[in-house]
Symmetry: D2
Subunit: 297 residues, 4 copies
């Protein structure tokens, strides 16, 4: 299969179930909302080593938010509900509550259940907190030094999908990187998805375990390393490819992740030098979701 | 004491010892280095609830870095050396190694000891890693999908100072916020310091424990809340003040934190509406450092 | 009239007819499109002294552009059609054609007429230019050093409205400035409008002519200067107001400008410290449009 | 000559004399100063079609500015002194005076002469302006709606150098673009220089006149167009090069431009895929300066 002259490999991205929360962070200005959203979603590339997978989903203009102020929707994810509950409490409490002029609203449609983040954070008010209603939502108003922080009582959580992914294969590293940025730009406009790695882009591809160091749970996927093309047997990089980047996608459900993968492929094939689009899987035995690239179109 | 017509309260910031690391993140472009530095220092406002205190210290132009590429120096801090070792491993491994085109170099002068972050991360190369030398430093080159990640074998750590702080008291919330941004801008140019809260600014002031909820370790400092001025006995906010923001500073040593506090005060008093500068302490019994505001000048 | 406790003065913004163009600048990435859009709309606050009034209208995701790449819609305006034709040629030719990976498409709905910007620019190709079709549009492809620049043959122009405006009156300068930023954020989401001043915000208010210097066509409106409140007779600033900022809006038609003014007022009244919203006019004898604030609601 | 394995062609950049001004724009925050500096230097890539060549030279921290606030130094250039005088008046008057919280100071060392920009702008104060002294400088304080704008009475101008340049030749367009960004990052740290094109990068290379259209003063340099490699006789692009970008540099003097070119080459050769560095000239008969690449090292 080819799109715009670029080969789309007949393979699938192997994705996993994950617990996903989705919240709206508003502030007095777009810039202030971005600062809080960025702090709250940092150190959140992969649950392999980070306490959560997190990222900014999209911007919401003031005309469309419950409090009429500009905001960013962020997603925070963890395999484990209890850990997700903890992460919500700390990331909202330490990174958004502490930020200037912010408020937090639930933004998850069709949640499986609710985390009581706001209900727990209100105690920080030491008795001076108040319960109010905004747009039909139960909100706790907590007095802080600089003003009142608003947080919705409950934040919705649902079983989503992590590890949706695309491999971009290009003629040079720079072509791959430029295409990766274009892919991230395209996925930004797909609601209910994030690309949790730095700038949305993954420079490293891993394999499960290690051939040489038995104590390791994961190590570099040597068959996909551009600088090892001539040194490794069974290299999976085409001869004419010297730039490989991965995009990892988490979403509120399978459809969202698939829409993001589709948008990503359509963006990548428009960048000169992109030669092939592929995806990563582990043979299909680990993850619950097999997202076939050809089925996206 | 007055500077530029603004009262500088005769008080002190009570600061604490913390273990500090300081590393340089370089990349092909300034923008790519910033992306990695931001991801690695997110979720890092306060060790009360975050796994580390972290932030960007300063930009280093390509002319002054070991590999001749643009970079940002970041600081990652924790009270506990073992936890700091863990945070370095994960924040570098998950947030910088995974980012496009990056490298990591030690940037700590006069370290007390070294963490072997690079020495541990190299195993990710699964035998394909190489040891090289750059600028007299021992560097591990780890092949990744998109190219080779370079990381210095050891990263210096030293006993630094956390919790240096300033309270900005202004006529309105917006004046306080504008001054807070000006303070952060000024501290950016003081080497060896970070302002770890979102955008460098703290909207919430805490007290130890809680009057009403005995299970809480910390709660809002109701005597410093602008919206509780009329409701709380013993309110410590001057009558004409309605905007209060705090800046928290971590540094490699006491001198760096003091230089940052001085630069911060000098910036704040230039913003119209700033009426008083103060600092936060807990009576002087908790922290090892008492940084008196008047002694800064 | 009051909204959210803020007085909306019973007055009108006096606006003027202007010739407006609206074009879409796409590029390989969002960042590259922003760079070109910013360069092309600089030095474009007011035709009083700038060769055009110009600004960014909105971002368009790759899913919605003719070439499937991310883009920004910009507006370039001048009272005079011939001058606008010149500005289009130079701003597109010098600031977008020269920028990396860009293309330019018409984005004006219901134009009165067309400027042949693309038809003129194609000659730069010195015979190597080609005419192609994208999405039913006639496009010229001009070979450059770094690749081919695409530009639509004709760019639509119509009689729009300049000088729509709001005056924000707040308790302090910082409150006014924060509100101004919030207003600009809100207007960003109103299609067909720009706020051409730096960051969308005007710090200076002018009157026609000068009392003291007869050679001047415009001078500071001393009755609206916060630092002259006690020195000028007939000062029009309320006693409790010390922060005044203006937002100037240009739009493709009267409805767009009115929608922007409405969105701006709704955003401003949510910022603490905003006491009154007003607008600027010259008695109603100069501009063709009288946009009454009360009529917006 | 080779640096880091990249061929440095034995050629020279042909540069021209230009009148250069250099001013410092300060504001309450770094962000506000950047907004004004960006607006004032827009529409300023080349005097061929723009009313000036303009750009941001560098950031100056509050500790080093006359008014203790953060600022950006910008440069505004024109071949003609009278036109430069006009541009200074309009760009400062329309794009900086109108911006929130700004001030303007002279930042030109060793000027040949002075433009009386501040002396002319003061009349806008309509008699309410005041002359003050800051740091030994004569400053006019002009009351505006939002506060007082400060501008130095005279701004220094000197004979500088325009059109210093580098050609980056890389394996692919994306490699060339990434290297171009790295070059711009490096030149940012060379004081007294700007890269006036969008993002500092030029995608188009021109030749004087046109072969086909006699009415044109300049047209695409078809021998340097990557997409015409197979179609044009005498193509000057090496066979293995498919990415060509140019960096144009203006500076306060020849030494500054040479330092920028040197820094640019050193940055470019570190980007994978860069194959050759060259420069543009017109045979040496047009410009007064011949900046030989080999002489830089």
């Amino acid at each position: 299969m080819e799109i715009n002259g670029v080969e789309i490999q007949d393979t699938f991205a192997e994705a996993f179930g994950i617990q996903v929360s989705r919240l709206l962070v508003t502030a007095a200005t777009k810039k202030l909302a971005k600062i809080a959203a960025t702090e709250a979603t940092g150190y959140g590339t992969s649950v392999i080593g980070c306490p959560a997978e997190a990222g900014i989903d999209c911007y919401v203009p003031p005309q469309e938010t419950p409090d009429g102020r500009p905001g960013y929707i962020i997603m925070i994810c963890n395999m484990d509900k209890k850990k997700l509950d903890h992460e919500l409490l700390e990331r909202v409490g330490m990174c958004i509550l502490t930020a200037a002029t912010t408020a937090v609203f639930d933004a998850m449609k069709n949640p499986d259940e609710k985390m009581t983040t706001g209900k727990k954070l209100k105690f920080y008010g030491d008795g001076y907190e108040k319960m109010i209603e905004i747009d039909g939502r139960t909100i706790h108003s907590i007095p802080l030094m600089a003003g009142d922080f608003l947080v919705e009582e409950e934040l919705g959580v649902r079983s989503g999908v992590a590890g949706g992914n695309l491999f971009i294969m290009a003629d040079t590293p720079a072509s791959g990187l430029l295409a990766a940025e274009a892919v991230v730009n395209a996925i930004e406009s797909v609601p209910g998805t994030i690309t949790p790695f730095p700038g949305g882009i993954v420079a490293s591809g891993s394999k499960v375990g290690s051939n040489k160091y038995k104590f390791l749970g994961a190590s570099t996927n040597e068959k996909m390393c551009v600088t090892l093309k001539d040194d490794v047997e069974g290299c999976q990089i085409p001869t004419n490819v010297d730039g490989v980047y991965e995009i990892v996608i988490d979403g509120v459900d399978e459809d969202a992740v698939k829409a993001a993968m589709k948008a990503g492929i359509e963006a990548a094939v428009k960048v000169p030098g992109v030669l092939k689009m592929s995806a990563g899987n582990f043979g299909g035995n680990l993850g619950a979701y097999k997202l076939n690239l050809h089925d996206l179109f």
